[in-house]
Amino acid sequence: MDAVVIPIQFRLNGETRQADVRTHELMIDFIRDRLGLTGTKRSCDIEICGACTVILDGKAVSSCSIFAYELDGKEITTIEGLAQGDTLHPLQEAFIERGGFQCGYCTSGMILLAKTLLDQKPNPTRKEIQHYMDANICRCTGYQMILESIMLAAEKMAGKPA
């Protein structure tokens, strides 16, 4: 059959947006191709690696396996929405300072997943971070430097001197 189109309204990185989406369109393709926000990446395509992680109504989800129309009435944060102008989010700063990224392909998803953790639990232990972040895969860093980045971010967000 021909593509069926439905209108949606949603908040994207703090701004209200409207669009017409095809019912079978996946969220990741809508974000990357229609909204032109290519920070969200596709890798395994089966919800395992987390490279496609975005934050939907405060929850980390795999944009590769959700339909775009699910955005309707919801709030989505992509990596592009984290920095405020030139001011980086503490997580972004921390990932830079502690080497939490190398090739960068998992980084958008990793930072957003970490944000959902710190938003719920501002002072996690290293073990809690490791357990929570286990959801996402990195092939470059060996994970330890990501843990340290998130711990630094938690300190920054708590207002402690780094």
Binding site: L37, K41, C44, A83, L88, I96, Y105, I111, R139, M145
Partner: protein, 755 residues
């Protein structure tokens, strides 16, 4: 006093990568771009009787259909060692997953629909999957004919032909007289090992956007080897390489998966046929079916004296190259050269073979076979030590080459004190020196060590660099080392900044574009910091000297110097822009290690990449599960350019090693891969991090002249497997001879030992 070397400098790509602004090949959209998709064979070995693509070609929205009957070039074969791989299968398919057809269409949905309308008729042929299959008597030949480049080595190394067999490359290294060595030995021990085929799995799969404008190709590709791609595509279309331009955006990882042609050939052909830009992006599933690490069978035989002195070693290495050759002949060559390890052994004989089979083509993988041979050598080393009743660390210390000692005739001597590093490592892991009695069930945690040295820096590598100071005062570094995540752009820029006594932020790293970037062999073999680094250093020095000369001329005095990115003269400071007055300065540098026939491999080893590792493990006796509680690694990087990078490379390598050892394995059934996805191919995750992981980065005082940094991209992975398997042996008495370690095999071995 160093301004940037050794300091933590924010990576150039940092802000881009943490904000999602970094552009990767798959993010690029060109006007009029078509989407290319490929049809893959389901059979591992079959003659193609008929390909019918008429219906697909007639579909609206389809602009090119590529099959063996619709080839726009006279010969569709490419390959770095031998031109054995076609853009689409011609007379037959040689592995399940091989490309049989391709289409370019307005969007992916139409392209997929078009593929469904292509029908292929096959005549199935018997397939060979394992090394044993491929070497069996009357084994079907994967390639009936092969035209390959002649292999040229130095003294002591030679290649041997095997016509009419699936062995397409055989290299042999000899020194001394092994038979004599074995006769003089008190004991001779022989052990066989196996290491599985694995998938590199960079998170970004192979992808290329190619635009043929009627005259020239512009290729944007996630490739570690832009110049190789340029030359291959030029070769396919019989063009002067100048007519093929390769531009490299950021890569989402490489690890060898992007060292040879991936999606570029199909994309280029579809663009050539449609006269439109075409993007071909392989899915993760397709990446599994494009490239892998060769499965390896390794037999090591060592003759020793009672007191532990090694006299002779004979090794055989068999590499399952899969359906096409890629660079597996080079892996065989390197494995051959590395098989005797960093030990003092007068009599050596090694044979390494690259063998065709009907499986996914193998190629470069982080470590380039070094980690696989290391598993064999370092497990065998422990086994020999135990049999002699000698502590494994002591046994190594007795036989390890010292700093300045020759690894092989006329080659670069060992450039660091490996024994000292081994002692430091033993301390770090808490090696008690009483570890040689295998303890069956009482020991809760046990340790194992491994000590690996491999040639680093690239053999027969040519690296060139340009440093420009532009009229506006910006310093630009132009060289072909691809930023695959390792931080090379930043590190090399630090080298330039150091010469100009300026902050690293003043140096820009130019986008890699073969139309203006000077030639570089490829980004591999841990060659970025050392080999390219020397080219960059030379270029930076020349540019700096010219800058100072220009300043002296303009300011009419010889008393000029550089400070904080400015010219200082008689107490006054001038910007580069002020001094240049519209002119431009260029410095050139190059680094290549010329051929030396006296060296067995034919070219000198730029530096020795050191990878030592020690593991402390726990075994769950009921499930056979192995848990790495503690891991310590030590590598020598000569001199640290960027501390965060070194640690990142080392720890990333260690997790790769954990994957190789405990988790990763490509599994075939009925000739096809049954786990080409992350649900069934287990990559290391956060949970696999050892409880305590510390990577020690050693800086040797000086090596090979005044430019001191070495690389460490492949050091972390080298020692992990043997260190863990040696620990497993020390805990259970079970000797692992195959990777990955299978819980079931541990359980079975413990279960039956007890009964």
């Amino acid at each position: 006093m160093s301004t940037t070397i050794g300091k933590h400098v924010e990576r150039f790509d940092a802000r881009e990568k943490v904000t999602g602004k970094s552009v990767y090949t798959g993010d690029i959209k060109l006007p009029g771009m078509l989407h290319g998709k490929v049809l893959r064979s389901y059979l591992p070995h079959a003659r193609i009787l008929r390909v019918d693509a008429e219906e697909a070609a007639a579909m609206p929205g389809v602009f090119a259909v590529l099959t063996r009957d619709r080839l726009p070039m006279p010969s569709p074969y490419y390959g770095s060692f031998a031109k054995d791989q076609p853009v689409v299968a011609m007379d037959k398919v040689r592995y399940a997953g091989e490309i049989v057809a391709a289409v370019a269409a307005d969007d992916e949905a139409i392209a997929e629909e078009a593929l469904k309308r292509i029908s292929v008729e096959y005549e199935e042929l018997p397939a060979v999957i394992t090394i044993e299959d491929a070497l069996g008597k009357n084994a079907p030949l994967v390639h009936e004919r092969l035209e390959k480049k002649p292999a040229v080595f130095g003294r002591g190394m030679k290649s041997i032909e095997h016509d009419g067999s699936n062995i397409y490359f055989h290299v042999q290294y000899e020194r001394g007289d092994v038979e004599e060595g074995f006769r003089s030995a008190d004991f001779v021990f022989e052990d066989s090992f196996f290491s599985s085929a694995n998938q590199q799995y960079p998170l970004e799969s192979q992808v290329a956007v190619v635009d043929f404008n009627g005259e020239d190709f512009i290729i944007r590709s996630a490739t570690q080897s832009p110049f190789r791609i340029r030359d291959e595509i030029a070769g396919l279309f019989k063009l002067d390489p100048k007519r093929v331009r390769v531009v490299v955006p950021y890569l989402g990882g490489g690890f060898g998966a992007k060292s040879v042609i991936g999606a570029e050939a199909v994309a280029a052909t579809l663009s050539y046929m449609s006269k439109r830009p075409v993007r071909v992006a392989f899915s993760a599933d397709e990446m599994f079916k494009t490239i892998c690490q060769p499965a390896a069978k390794m037999i090591i035989k060592t003759g020793v004296k009672r007191d532990g002195t090694i006299l002779a070693r004979r090794s055989e290495i068999y590499l399952n190259s899969g359906a096409y050759s890629n660079s597996v002949s080079s892996i065989a060559t390197k494995s051959c050269y590395r098989a005797h390890g960093p030990y003092r052994i007068p009599h050596v004989s090694t044979d390494a073979y690259a063998i065709y089979s009907n499986t996914v083509p193998a190629g470069a993988f982080r470590g380039f076979g070094g980690h696989q041979t290391a598993f064999a050598i370092e497990s065998h080393t422990d086994m020999v030590a135990h049999r002699l009743g000698i502590d494994p660390v002591e046994f190594r210390l007795k036989n390890l080459l010292g700093k300045g000692e020759e690894y092989a005739a006329e080659d670069t001597p060992i450039d660091c004190d490996v024994k000292d590093l081994l002692r430091k490592l033993s301390q770090a892991i808490g090696w008690t020196g009483k570890g040689d009695e295998p303890q069956q069930t009482t020991a809760k945690r046990t340790k194992g060590v491994a000590c690996v040295v491999k040639d680093g820096g690239g053999t027969k590598k040519e690296a060139n660099a340009l440093v420009k100071v532009q009229a506006d005062g910006r310093i630009v570094l132009i060289c072909g080392t691809v930023e695959i995540g390792q931080g090379s752009s930043t590190a090399l820029s630090q080298v330039v900044a150091e010469q100009f006594s300026c902050p690293a932020e003043m140096v820009e790293f130019a986008t890699i574009d073969t139309s203006y970037t000077p030639y570089d062999t490829a980004t591999n073999a841990t060659s970025g910091v050392f080999t390219m680094g020397r080219a960059v250093l030379q270029a930076a020095r020349e540019a700096r000297d010219r800058m100072l000369s220009a300043a002296a001329l303009v300011l009419d005095t010889s008393e000029v110097s550089l400070k904080d990115g400015k010219i200082v003269c008689h107490g006054k400071t001038f910007t580069f822009q002020e001094v240049l007055r519209g002119a431009e300065i260029v410095g050139k540098g190059s680094c290549t290690f010329g051929r030396n026939e006296q060296i067995p491999i034919g070219y000198p080893t730029p530096f020795w990449e050191i990878g030592l590792g020690a593991a402390e493990i726990e075994v769950d006796e009921m499930t056979g599960e192995i848990r790495i509680v503690k891991f310590r690694s030590i590598t020598d990087v000569g001199r640290i350019i960027n501390p965060l990078h070194c640690r990142g490379q080392e720890e990333g390598g260690i997790l790769f090693g954990i994957g190789q050892t405990l988790l990763e394995e490509l599994v075939y059934e009925d000739g096809r891969l049954i786990n080409p996805n992350l649900a069934d191919y287990r990559l290391p995750r956060f949970r696999d991090l050892p409880e305590s992981l510390v990577s020690l980065i050693h800086e040797e005082e000086e090596i090979a002249g005044s430019y001191q940094p070495k690389g460490s991209g492949e050091s972390g992975i080298l020692a992990v497997s043997a260190a863990v398997c040696n620990a497993i042996h020390n805990s259970t008495g079970i000797r692992i001879l195959e990777l990955p370690v299978k819980r079931e095999n541990i359980w079975k071995a413990m279960h039956f030992t007890r009964e």
